[in-house]
C-alpha cells in the first residue's frame, strides 16, 4: 500500500524529471515536428553533448553549468555541419533517405564513442551533486530544480526565436511550403541546416543540465529517445510549449505510475497516453500548424 504522504513529493519529482525529458524533446520537436526529419541520431547526439560536458569537466575542470557557454554553440555547429555536409547531401531530399542516413549516423557515432570511451559509465562530481531544495516538504535535487528552470527558459527562448526573428519566420515558411520558401529567396539549404543546428543546440543545453544528475555512456541516448518522440506527439508536433507541457505530463505520469503500479510497470502509463493521443487527438495537446 502506497503511503499517501509521498504522493506530493513524487509528483514534484515527476515534474523535475519531466522537465529533463522536455529539454531533450525541444530539439526533437523542431527537427521532427517542424522540418519533418525523423532524426534517429537524436539520442546519439545527446550522448555527444553529455561526453562534451563530461570532457570539459574531467580535463579542464569546467563546471557543467559553465559549459552552457561552450557545449550548446559547439553542438549547434555540429548540427549545422551534419545537416549541410551529410544528411542534406545524402538524403537527396527524400524523407526515407533522411531516416536511413540518421540511423546510420547514430550507429557510427555510438561506435566511435565505444572506441574512444569504451562502455564505461562516466559521472561528473560537483560540489552540489547531493544538494537538495526543500519544496512543500519534499527534498528536490538542486540539479533537477535548475534543469526545470532551464527547460522553461529554453522553451521560451525557442518560442521567441521562432516567432520574433527572421530565422524563425524562414523556418516556419520552409516547414509550410518548401518550394514557395525557395521562390521568395530563402536559402533553403542554409535554413534547414540552421534548424537542425538549433535542434542539436537544444540537446547541448539538455546535456549541460542533465549531466550533474545523470551519467554518460555510449548507449545513454537510447533511454531518452523514445520518451522524446512520445512527448513531441503528445505536445503537438512543432509546439515548444506543447513539448514542455508534454514532458511535464510524462514525468508526472511516470512517477505516479511507478508509485502505484510498481517501478517496472511505471512506463505503461506513458505509452497508454501515447496511444490515446494518437487515437483521439492526433495533432497533440497544442498541435497547430506552425
Amino acid at each position: 500500500m502506497v503511503n499517501l504522504d509521498i504522493v506530493l513529493p513524487s509528483v514534484l519529482n515527476g515534474l523535475t524529471t519531466g522537465a529533463l525529458y522536455a529539454l531533450v524533446a525541444l530539439g526533437l520537436t523542431l527537427i521532427y515536428g517542424v522540418l519533418h526529419i525523423i532524426n534517429f541520431a537524436h539520442g546519439a547526439l545527446l550522448m555527444v553533448g553529455l561526453y562534451g560536458v563530461y570532457g570539459l569537466n574531467a580535463f579542464a575542470g569546467v563546471d557543467p553549468y559553465v559549459a552552457l557557454l561552450i557545449v550548446p554553440p559547439a553542438m549547434f555547429a555540429i548540427g549545422y555541419a551534419l545537416q549541410r555536409g551529410i544528411i542534406g547531401k545524402a538524403s537527396h531530399g527524400r524523407d526515407e533517405n533522411i531516416l536511413l542516413v540518421t540511423l546510420g549516423l547514430s550507429i557510427v557515432i555510438e561506435n566511435l564513442a565505444l572506441y574512444f570511451f569504451r562502455s564505461d559509465t562516466r559521472i561528473v562530481d560537483t560540489p552540489y551533486s547531493f544538494s537538495t531544495v526543500e519544496v512543500l516538504g519534499a527534498f528536490l535535487p538542486l540539479t533537477k530544480v535548475i534543469a526545470f528552470a532551464g527547460a522553461l527558459l529554453t522553451a521560451a527562448l525557442m518560442w521567441l526565436i521562432m516567432t520574433r526573428t527572421d530565422l524563425g519566420r524562414a523556418i516556419r515558411a520552409l516547414a509550410k511550403e518548401r518550394k514557395g520558401a525557395a521562390l521568395v529567396g530563402i536559402d533553403t539549404d542554409h535554413i534547414f541546416a540552421m534548424s537542425f543546428g538549433l535542434g542539436i543546440a537544444c540537446l547541448g543545453i539538455a546535456a549541460c543540465l542533465l549531466m550533474p544528475s545523470y551519467y554518460v555512456s555510449p548507449q545513454v541516448g537510447h533511454g531518452f529517445v523514445l520518451i522524446a518522440f512520445t512527448i513531441v506527439v503528445l505536445g503537438g508536433m512543432g509546439s515548444f510549449t506543447g513539448a514542455l507541457i508534454g514532458g511535464l505530463i510524462i514525468g508526472v505520469v511516470e512517477a505516479l505510475g511507478g508509485l502505484f503500479l510498481g517501478e517496472s510497470l511505471g512506463q505503461i502509463g506513458i505509452f497508454l497516453i501515447f496511444i490515446l493521443v494518437l487515437i483521439f487527438r492526433p495533432t497533440g495537446l497544442l498541435g497547430h500548424r506552425v
Binding site: 503511503n3 513524487s10 524529471t17 562530481d125 527534498f139 537510447h222 512517477a255 511507478g258 517501478e263
Partner: protein
Amino acid sequence: MTRQANKGGLDRRAFLAAGGAALGAGITGFPAVLRAQTESVKIGLIHPVSGFIAFSGNQCREGALMAIADINARGGIQSLGGAQLEAVLGDSQGKPEVGAAEVAKMAEAGIHGIVAGYASSISLATSQEAAKTNTPHVVDVGVSDEITKRGLENTFRFSPGYGKIAEFAVANLDTINKNAGSPAKTAMIIHEESLFGTGTANLLNAQLPQIGIEVVDTIKHANPTRDFTNIVLQIKSNAPDLIIPANYYNEYVLLARTMRQQQVSAKGIYSVLGGAASNYQFVAEFPEAADMIMDCNHWFDPNSEVALQRKKAAEDKGLYYTYEVFLAYNAVAFLADAIERAGSLDKAAVNAALAESTWDDHGMPYGPTKIENGQNQGAQPVNTQVLDGVIEVIYPDQFASAEAVFPMTR
C-alpha cells in the same frame, strides 16, 4: 562473428559467388587451410558488449582476452604442441536470442569452446544452444541456479550461483547483525527485473525472515531506470533498517546517489550482488555515496599473489579490476586447463576434463575446483565493505582485511 560482420550486406551475385567458392572448397578441399585451423584453439567469447549492460560485457571481454594473452604468452596448450588460443568474439547485445544465434554461428565455424554470457538469461540461452553440438561452454558470471540444473553435459560454471550467494549473504548478515546486538529487524529489497535480480530477491525474501529480519517491501525496477527518486521516497516512507539492492552498475550508482541526496538514514546498506558496491570505479568517483556500503559479491582472494598480479596487470591496461574481469579471466583459464589435460579438442574429452577439474591457479577464495552437475562446489562469494574509500573484505574471516562496521555511522 562480430556485429560488423553481420551488417555486411551481400548482393545476389556476391552471395552466389561466395557460395560457389565455398562449395568448391568443400568439394576439392583445402588441406592447408584446414591444417591452419587446427593449429589454434578457437575460444568463442560471447558478451553483451553493446546494449544496456555493455559496461559489464566489455569488462568480461577484456578479462577473457587477458587470459588468452597470458596463456599464449606462456606457450599455449602444451599437450597440443603449444597450440595458441584464438579468441572469436561475439556480441549478444544483451539479448538471449542474439547470444544463442552467435553460438550457432560459432558452432558452424568449428569453435572448440565457449565462454559466455555475463547475464543469467543470456547464459541460459547460449549454453542451451551450445549443448546441441556438445560444445564445451563455461559460464563466466550468470548466477541463476537454473544454468547448472538442466543436466547439460557441456555446461560448467566456475563461479557461484545465486542460491549459494543468497545463503552466504543471509548467514553473514545474521552474524554481522548479532555481533552488533541485532539492531536490524526490517529490510527493503530493491532489485532489477531480470532473472538475476528477481531470483536473488525471491531467495532473500524466503531466507531473511528465518534470521528475524522482516522484508517490509520489495521493489522491482526496469533496466535502464532513469530516475530513482520514486523508489527512494518509498524507502524513506518504509524506513527499513536495511536496504538491500541487487542490480546492475548504472542503476546501482543512480540508486546510491539518490539515497545520499534524499538523506536516507538506514542502519545499513547491504547489497547482494550489488552492481557497483564492490566496484573500484564507483568508490573512486563517489566515495561519499559508497561509504560503508556492504556487499556480498564475487571477489578475489586478497591474500593471493596470483590475484594481485592479475589485478595489477588489469590496472596497467587502464581497467578497473571488477568481478567481470576476474571471473571471465578465470572462466577462460578454467576451460584452457581442461583442454590442456584432455590433450585433445574432442568436445566430449574436454567436457569430461572440465567435469573432473581440480584447478587451483585462480586466485579466488574457492580452493581447487570440484565440479558437480557442472557447478564448481567450492565457489563462494565474500562480504566486502567500503571503508575510508577502500573496498575491504570483511567475511569470511580467513580472507578478511577489516572488521565490519555496523550499524553505519555516517
